[in-house]
Symmetry: C2
Subunit: 398 residues, 2 copies
Amino acid sequence: MVPQIRWSHSHSGGYVFHNPGHYDVQPAYKSDGWNTDPWTLVEDAQGRLLGRGSTDDKAPVISWLFVIEAHQKLGLDFPVNLKMCFEGMEESGSEGLDDIIHQEAKAYFKDVDCVCISDNYWLGTNKPCLTYGLRGVSYFHLKVTGPGKDLHSGVFGGTVHEPMTDLIHLMGKLVTPDGKILVPGIMDDVAPVTEAENSLYQGLDFTLNDIYGATESKTTIFDTEREVLMARWRFPSLSLHGVEGAFYNPGDKTVIPAKVIGKFSIRSVPNQEPEKITQLVKDHINAEFAKLNSKNTIDIACSHGGKCWVADVNHWNFVAAANAVQRVFNAKPDYTREGGSIPVTLTFQDALQKNVLLLPMGRSDDGAHSTNEKIDKFNFIEGIKLLSTYLHEVSAQS
Amino acid sequence: MVPQIRWSHSHSGGYVFHNPGHYDVQPAYKSDGWNTDPWTLVEDAQGRLLGRGSTDDKAPVISWLFVIEAHQKLGLDFPVNLKMCFEGMEESGSEGLDDIIHQEAKAYFKDVDCVCISDNYWLGTNKPCLTYGLRGVSYFHLKVTGPGKDLHSGVFGGTVHEPMTDLIHLMGKLVTPDGKILVPGIMDDVAPVTEAENSLYQGLDFTLNDIYGATESKTTIFDTEREVLMARWRFPSLSLHGVEGAFYNPGDKTVIPAKVIGKFSIRSVPNQEPEKITQLVKDHINAEFAKLNSKNTIDIACSHGGKCWVADVNHWNFVAAANAVQRVFNAKPDYTREGGSIPVTLTFQDALQKNVLLLPMGRSDDGAHSTNEKIDKFNFIEGIKLLSTYLHEVSAQS
Ligand SMILES: [Zn+2]
Ligand SMILES: [Zn+2]
Ligand SMILES: [Zn+2]
Ligand SMILES: [Zn+2]
């Protein structure tokens, strides 16, 4: 599952790099709405390379190999030692990957000095970025159990405590319509915004039109780019995803469901810990349920708790990458986070205890996982230069 | 769709009866859990007649024919004129029935003096009943629309007004966990409980254990039989049935649904009118939504509004039936209502403007629509006597 390509040249003294990526891709059918065969790489008139996996994650993966090949063909000394890890199950949950990383932490990965992953995207379409943070996610199942079987609302409506009513009331105590999380204590561990951090939000390649476009609506809670991005990147959020066990089809059905399970998740940020989040949520739900005076019973459980991640942007790994962006693009990079999680990032961080840099190659509009996925030839070519230059910049820092 | 069997003997002077019933049945497969072939009538050791449709509604329908046959064979004068209407699509929504009833109101049905329908059940298992009321039902779809497409909660959680959050808050404003409807004005038209009505709740064949058994739980809101039955029969209730468009499968999915539709219904009682209920619900939802300050949009619509029904238990039709119960069972009948709706009842009431009596034959545990549906031979035989005696009692009242 984790094929290894070892760079046979051993660089003495320099840093050892680890560059994971994945060669597996999402499914794709032309009938999904592709304009071209998704499994044939096509270059269109605007210089876009179209095909499934073009940007996620084949271009970055192959670029590392081009960097090596270029050094070989030019007879140049390779600036660092490289350890690669190409994954083939990233799009199917990376089964087994965590285990092998932890297992190899003191073996294959033992002399790694830093990690660089290229498997995310520029914030916009104009400017490279270095990504230094991800939110964690804790997923909850809130089960309310009442009658022993589903009931008919004609016969039993008004006579029993309906699990769905209890659940709706409890879910309504989790978050306000403007996104404020109602779980007491949940914000206590959220790191305050520092001046240095604030300055990273200046001049980002992002406008409100970007989020209007991405959501196909003007339903944003905030009216400034900074607030939108901070809400996405560095503050927690709580989303209500749905209800299992209730009526969900079109049309009318007069059922009183016997057991319903509300699904919601909390996106977490430094310095929140999943264990504490779970405890706060449980305490809150139990306290709110007690107020309902219901004869039903509840069960609240965290089905998945993934930690957030943040890296030190002043680490030499990030400094080298910023220098490389300056040299290749003649620009300062944006410093970005992502609202979602990329679990392998955290696994490498935890297992190797080294600085992890996310150095994306594609643009925000590349359409990873979507139809007509592409990478612009510009991003691909300049991206190869960036990766190569980055390795030389790192070497210069050592 | 409405086969007609006319009784050729024309009774001069007496009442004209209309006795609708249905000969179609629910589907049934032995694999559903039947102990015997559902399509073969089997009498078991306890004298129960097992088979699909045995109690719903074949025994009552055929009983009217046995009553006629008995009079013929005994050479007895038939006490009334009879107009029958046997339906064959009751279990599939009675398509077309309303139209034909209204169409024939001044034709086939024009000289009908009263209606007697035998298509419901005793309140318990020991005592016959006369049923004089049904609740109406108004079904609502509350749609909240936000982003143009489903979003990922990692990327967008915290940045947009989530339709699911708005919906949960609105649904939480509809009913309390102990069944109190929160729509302002909704109780204004509910008829007060009279002394006479109160007395009908004395000595009913119903205990709390019956509802514990039926719900397979002890999740009742009330602790007395009278309160339970009043909540089921003569007070409105509001049930939250589910959400269309949200995540409903087992497992975890981190989706922010773009559009969600909450489903709920209100069971209505005299003197509530569906049009007014709809208006009150719309006004309430719109007022509550305005408080949310959300950028999403809502749409609230009533997909079905069926009126409640109540009959005068002092009408000669009910008096005759009570006398018949006394003669056949040597007991006073229970006077019951049903929490659900039997739309044809209301249609006959509306179209013919005559007293409608529901005179059940089977017991509450007969399992209509369920596996191992049965009617007890006792109920069947005594039920035929009851129907016959009832016709003679009516004749005596004229
Ligand atoms: Zn990827
Ligand atoms: Zn992917
Ligand atoms: Zn029936
Ligand atoms: Zn039926």
